[in-house]
Amino acid sequence: MIKFREVTAAGFSEASFSIGAGVACKLVTESNLDRDLILHLLLASAPAERGEIALFGEVLNEVTEVRALALFSRLGIVWSGGGLVSNLKVWENLLLPVMYHRGGEPATFEGQVVDLLRRLGVADDLVPGYLQSLPGALPAQVQRLLGCARAALMDPEIVIYESAFEGLQRDVRARLESFAVWFHTQRPGRTSVYLSSDEQSLQRLPADLVLRQEGGRFSA
């Protein structure tokens, strides 16, 4: 699903690793800079000096921008900052990727959104208020939960949690962790990548594979 082959770029020197289908993987970098670099390389927004990066079996620097975007639509990223678009209400934010890629009527997603938010521990009475708010008006950890719901609504084949378990209140973190574990099992072959520079924050998450950056390389 995700493959880095001898990638050299900024902090990486001939870094190679592979994360297969259905795997829950902790990907631990030495710094936030390296964590961001992995995402930039994976989203083809920063070029590698050497090596190959493949997503869903397709080498990113060999595909067109349109094809790359089609591959990204099969990814779900839970950003530490929430990743919501500031000028859209939360409801519009949650529906944006699914409506953009799959179409349909907004009302048909209502039940799914409510279920996902409930599973993320958002109290039912808070949901209508959150959905009608602009993201900027909400606390950072709520934005992260909402961003997680948006990623989940797309039913992605790969979910990447970018430092998603850091800096949260204990109960919110526990809810997000149990959501991540549950969500991993909800689609056969789904890959979950817990990406962080702080291994402690991933401690309570079960994983099939742990990849740690050492120097410019990754080892299991």
């Binding site: 995402l39 989203l43 927004s45 921008e65 975007l69 089609a70 591959l71 990204f72 639509s73 099969r74 990814l75 990223i77 950003w79 900052g81 990743g83 919501l84 678009v85 500031s86 000028n87 519009e92 529906l95 944006l96 990727p97 409506m99 953009y100 890629h101 179409g103 907004p106 797309m154």
Partner: protein, 258 residues
Amino acid sequence: MKPDIVQVLGRRVLTFFVHAVGVFALALEAARALPGLAQRPVRQVFYRQIYFTGVQALFVVAAIGLVLGLAIITQVASLAGRTTDLTGRILVWVVVRELGPLFAAIIVIARSGTAVAAELGSMKVSGEVGYLRAMGIPATRYLVMPRIAGLTTSLLALLFFFQGTAVLGGLALSSLLFDLPFRSQLDNLATALSFYDLSISLLKGLIFGLVIAAAACYHGLRVRRSITEVPQAATRAVIEALILVVVINGFITVASFL
């Protein structure tokens, strides 16, 4: 060594041309993304842009149109007399062909050009354009195209609204204030107004809308890391849109009389 004035000017002119090429390339790219309007989220951005640029500007456009129309009609009547058919022709030349498109463009540049550039610049700085890309949503299709389409549609509507307010409102006010014959002036105007004049006005509105919106999007998306780049992008978008609009207006006006 101080750079001489020719060098500085040359660099500025060159930069302007590079940006102008970028603006036109972005407008072309957005045109190719037009089928995206079939998607609901894209259409919502398009409607919002029409609301912000078109609907919310109606009052300002009406007020300016009314005052300008009154001033022009009063001046023309005092120079050319109350019943001459010259009034109608001057109104067509000045309001319909020149000032209508220019004023509508200036109002849109001031209100929406700055807003679009600042909004996209802020989105770029806060990483939101990157978040969209990570969801497989291209900026050209979701952010740029509906803004260009919405702003251009709004400018065309505002242009005709401005002309209508300036001409009809101006004639009505001047007939009330200075006892000018409303009906005969309106007849003069109708006689002088041709489909060709309206087409020229429409062409200007269309091109101005495209240029203003593309310049705003181009400069907004050129912002890189710092929030201090956002106001600079808005200023550049306004200045370049103004220059392009004035130059294009001159070309079309001259070409229409050849």
